[in-house]
Amino acid sequence: MTMTQPDVLALWKELESRVAAGDRFAGLSAARAADHNLVTLSAYLAVKGEGEAGGDVDTLAVTLPPGATRYPALTPRVGAAFWYERVIHDQFGLVPEGHPRLAPLIRPGDPLPRHVEGYGMFTIPHGPVRSGVMESIEYLVETPGEAIPHLNMRVFYKHRGVRQRFTGMTMPDGVLLAERTEGIASVAHALAFCHAVERIAGCEPPPVAGLVRVLHAELERIANHLDVAMRLADAAGLAVATARLALHKERVMRLVSRMCGSRFGRGVVVPGGVSALPRLAPAELAAEIGQLASQVASEAAALMATSSFLDRLRGTGPLTPVRARTHGALGPIGKAAGFADDHRLARPYDGYRTLPVPPARAHTAGDAMARLRVRWEEVDSSFGLLRLAAAELTERAGDELRASCEPAGGRALGWAEAPQGEVLYDVSVAEGRIVRCYPRSASFHNLVLMHEVFAGDILTDFPFIEASFGLSVAGVAL
């Protein structure tokens, strides 16, 4: 559903009241029309479905007056727009009036002034080149020595201009770029992009394609969650646990590469369906999944019984349920704090329409421990979905793999549930080419919450909190 409203303030008021009424704020983007100097702001609101009807994600759009350079900020009304409006300021030069801190986010800016003043306060700069094998981001940790009263993040270092690169691409090229927007969630990004394109074209991928998509999306989820668990074990200095979890992650990635040739499931999802069936025979696939499931479950049980490890997670980096709800925290971070809005359940797509996705268990602690518990539960349900999808795939082996999908023109939203949470793509197409593509990763929406979870935590908790978030900087700076 797309609507255009004449007045920015009226739209913001509507947004504010709808968010208060239970809709989830899912993003804000801007677009400049190619032929004239008009800027349109689009806000995304995720709506829960009622009864049998699946939910939807609404786009609320407003076009600013010609030549406008300022508009009233949304952030004072909907706090989750904080980073979104900074990006719009960076990319379009528009000033959101009343924004609490309009510093550059994805463009380089001046060094940030220290947030907290006081006796003995100093800043530990950490990054962008960090110890270990990490993506580039700079953390400025303001500390009197041990506690962390404030954390600043500078994410611009690896801004790659992905959004701009989409413009002018054909649909098959667009999928390739979507896969490289956030490489560790390649499948989810390809899915969200293709869902948008398929909506524009009005095409429906065949059921067998939906099942193959589920297989790859769930394997990606397992690999990501194992990666997070591995980093947590590494932070706690559990050498054997780290090695074991790395081994299982490698096994998952090798299974993916045996299925499709890429360790990240790239090249599988295409507009209208999938490029090929898994190269493994269904029986072999089912056997591999069964073996992996029992190995991972056993390792998870051992890890969650290692008290020296759990002591580091319990109460570390807590996000309050209230903040999770008002921000619309996505994925495991939201679920761990009692806010679950899983697209696979609320707005199902592909194979999830027929496969039973178990609802998330209720957690309220919101700490690193709850986040890890959520991940293990998701891994468990992923293996369940994999088994069902693999079994159903056996019966449908001879079906058509892709429907014709050639969108002439239009605009639509697509979404998918990545391991990090919701991935959203706002795609506009004209004459078979992308006019505009706005990808919004869960990493971008969730990373800003890192500002708020250090209450009572100390420097040595930092790697646990960062790992427990499980985000990718590539998806933030885009």
């Binding site: 080149v129 110890s131 490489g183 081994l247 290692t306 020296s308």
Partner: protein
Amino acid sequence: MSIWVLRGLRDGVVTTRWPARPDPYADAWRGPARPLEQPARPLEQGERLTGITDLCPTGAITVTDGTVRVDQGRCILCGRCVAERPGVFAWSGGATGPAALTREQLVIPELPETDATIQAARAELANRTRALRRSVHVRHVDAGSDGSEEWEIQALLGPVYDLHRLGVFITASPRHADVLLVTGAGARGMTGPLRTTYDGMPDPKVVIATGTDAVSGGLLAGGESVTDGVGGTVPVDIWLAGSPPSPFGILNALLIAVGYLTPDGRKRR
């Protein structure tokens, strides 16, 4: 804690023996696309050229005087050329293939004039890395990757690839580093930090452009936020294609860097 002692023994040795022994997973790996030396069937000149360069989303395919060339440093392994023109293109096999000492060497088939430059580059690198053989420290810098290259480098530290068995270690400080692994398309925000890291490393040092993005910018090439690879920021010694390269590919590049292997896969000591 004792449960972990037993668990550590559970699967026996899972570490690959490569490069001392071949590894089936590495051998079965699908590398970047390459043009077939002998097309599967004789092609008409016109048919062969029509639209063939437009197939590639990154412009890796060129045709000069009827010779089809693939620049593997641009190939993002999407497989479109192999799928659409199986008579002209095929996958290259093996995880350890696409590492080269000069940027031009990634163009397949090789341009005639590159042979001498490769010999010179090889001699120069061997000379420089003579001191590095037995203990090597590696610093990684992400210059705008999509995040997948970091996973593959991280995998080298796991039990399956186990970098440490070869005397190679990841180090936090550039001051201790001999090899710089650079990933990513060369985000402009990282140009300064990358250069500072390189300058902070002691001589002799070796730079590996890790992945197609680092070699050429990949799909992001031509964008205003990237420098189309990292070659313009730091002097690259080893160009490693792949989107992302496999862990075996990165391992291979590291072993070439320290003079353990030569780029054609021969063991040097």
